[in-house]
């Protein structure tokens, strides 16, 4: 949606980030499939492209692992919709994911700092 759209995230990275992302969104509050995808779009500024349908098998897995709780809500006069809510187990999993991602992210940050340094100062270090 925004200017950052040119950044295409690889399939593997999308898959790896899917679970913590969905858990984090559900941690914000109960939600349903379509809204979760909208939120992912928002959070990544359109950079994370999902095949929409693939969210549902993932939600199933989270449900099976006990990370989320699903319930059908059928308000009168409107079609029924399945809502998901994070469980304490899911919150634990989320913070574990978060710790791991922070380690990865820090490592990458550090790596890129030197990358930027060599980029801006191209003269050889050997001197």
């Amino acid at each position: 949606m925004q200017a950052t759209k040119e950044v295409r995230i690889g399939k593997d990275l999308v898959a790896a980030s899917a679970m913590p992302l969905v858990l984090a969104i559900l941690n914000e509050g109960e939600s349903y499939g379509y809204a979760i995808l909208k939120r992912i779009d928002e959070l990544s500024a359109g950079g994370l492209e999902w095949t929409d349908g693939m969210l549902y098998p993932l939600l199933h897995r989270l449900d099976r692992l006990g990370y989320v709780e699903a319930r059908w809500d059928s308000p009168p006069g409107s079609r029924r919709r399945r809502y998901y809510r994070i469980t304490p187990g899911g919150q634990n999993a989320l913070s574990e994911h978060r710790r791991q991602w922070e380690v990865v992210s820090d490592a990458l940050q550090n790596a890129w700092r030197s990358f930027q340094v060599t980029n801006s100062a191209p003269d050889p270090v050997e001197a």
Partner: protein
């Protein structure tokens, strides 16, 4: 809040729904959820100015391919595959009611079939009871003729329920059953012989009718399996697949049931309770009959979840049978011994052709018609060609015997079956070799096999209906 969705789009959505539902790995609740998603997307796209059709197409595209989706769901559920086989489905918390009602209906049909099978016992027709009742022979004869008529209607009933068949189709399916029931019970079959050692032996035409009637009725079951649309060629292959899987599952269950009964007998014998009459007259017949329906349900339920079994067995046994037949031909060539036209030989060769045809059918059913010729197709051609060669040699010997000793019902039935199968395999061999030479597409062979299926029904019907009067109910 929801933008209105036109009737054309509604129709497309419900079509898409039923398309998804056909994948057994995507359950009804999943489809409901995906539909909610689809509708949200369509109305959202509608608000930014896309037309109904455009929104539908975009939304469908975004949801992704049905194949990937179903694979993803299957992978997610692969740890619970056994549940799909036994218990229908879904997570422990949210069992879909539909699947349970299906299991319930299956069990009802199975029980009804078992009850119907035992109803004649209420009228004193009970060959399963190990009694010395004087009338046991006619009881055996009754079940020989009527067993399939008592059981298969319930299988058809189950399939009719699953396929939502219209009353007209069901009435049409009932006609052959009623006609057959009248014929086999009105025909004045000659009484068979009873001997001390082998028990009751029915007359030839009666036994032939008893063997061919289930074959004919099974193809009637095929009509109900195809939802009444038996005229179309292509779906017939689905019924061929169903038949193969059904047979394999039934064999497995029969084997398990046999072990169970044997152990039951052993255990109760050890505590000196005689359960043999109970098992022989109730557990075995009712179990065997109920399994007919339950197995059909199993085959339907696990469809597309696990790789089909029949094609796997086919690819294992095609080379082995080909090897055996080539060895037999070499044996004949080396020793100069040809087929000895014994009494039983015709049956052996009929069975051989049935097996070869089965191998061809199931490799056809599993094959991608667009794929190029493979080594397996060559092996198959060797199999068919060598079976044909041996069979023609055998037929020559048998024809000599028939002209010498005359036409008996058994010989005529054996010969007729042989010719029916031979005609099929000759043309199959031709199509296969044309395919290997890349003159014809593989789909020709598939079409030939599916077109041929009604001929089996016709031949079986001829044996049931015309043979008894032709051979004076011998």
């Amino acid at each position: 809040m929801e933008s209105t969705i036109g009737p054309g789009i509604e129709a497309q959505i419900s079509q898409w729904r039923s398309y998804l539902l056909r994948r057994q790995t995507i359950h009804r609740v999943d489809v409901d959820e995906l539909e909610d998603h689809l509708r949200s997307e369509i109305s959202e796209l509608g608000t930014v100015g896309l037309s109904g059709d455009e929104s539908f197409l975009v939304a469908i595209k975004r949801i992704g391919g049905v194949n990937e989706l179903s694979r993803e769901f299957a992978r997610e559920r692969s740890s619970q595959l056994w549940k799909q086989l036994v218990l229908a489905d879904d997570t422990a918390r949210e069992r879909s009611r539909l699947q349970y009602s299906e299991l319930l209906v299956t069990i009802c049909f199975a029980i009804a079939a078992a009850v119907a099978f035992k109803i004649p016992a209420a009228f004193g027709i009970d060959p399963f009871a190990a009694s010395d009742s004087t009338d046991n022979d006619s009881d055996v004869s009754f079940y020989l003729r009527n067993a399939s008529l008592l059981v298969l209607p319930f299988l058809i009933g189950f399939l009719a329920w699953k396929r939502n068949l219209s009353a007209r189709v069901i009435a049409g399916l009932a006609v052959p059953f009623i006609a057959a029931a009248i014929l086999v019970n009105v025909f004045p079959f000659n009484e068979g012989a009873t001997s001390e050692e082998s028990g009751y032996k029915p007359g030839d035409t009666e036994l032939l009718a008893a063997i061919h009637l289930p074959i004919f009725l099974w193809l009637v079951v095929g009509v109900s399996y195809l939802g009444g649309a038996w005229r179309a060629n292509a779906p017939r292959m689905d019924f061929v697949r169903f038949t193969g899987e059904w047979f394999i599952y039934y064999t497995l269950i029969a084997f398990g049931g046999g072990v169970l009964c044997a152990l039951t007998l052993g255990v109760f014998e050890a505590i000196e309770i005689d359960v043999e009459p109970l098992i022989a007259s109730w557990v075995l017949p009712c179990g065997a009959v109920g399994a007919v329906v339950v197995v059909a349900w199993l085959v339907e339920a696990k469809q597309s979840v696990i790789e089909n079994m029949a094609p796997v067995l086919t690819s294992v046994f095609t080379p082995l049978f080909a090897l055996m037949l080539v060895a037999a031909i070499l044996g004949m060539a080396v020793t100069g011994n040809f087929v000895d036209p014994e009494r039983e030989v015709l049956i052996v060769f009929d069975l051989l052709l049935v097996v070869v045809l089965g191998l061809v059918l199931y490799s056809v059913s599993a094959r991608d018609p667009a794929a190029k010729p493979t080594l397996m197709d060559g092996v198959q051609l060797v199999l068919v060609a060598s079976a044909l060669l041996i069979d023609i040699l055998a037929l020559a010997g048998i024809l000599g015997r028939i002209t010498e000793f005359g036409w008996t019902p058994n010989r005529t039935a054996g010969l007729g079956l042989n010719l029916v199968l031979l005609a099929n395999l000759v043309w199959s061999a031709w199509l296969l070799s044309a395919f290997l030479r890349r003159r014809r597409p593989f789909s020709d062979l598939e079409r030939w096999q599916t077109t041929y299926i009604p001929l089996y029904a016709i031949w079986a019907a001829i044996v049931v209906v015309l043979f008894p009067p032709l051979f004076a109910f011998d």
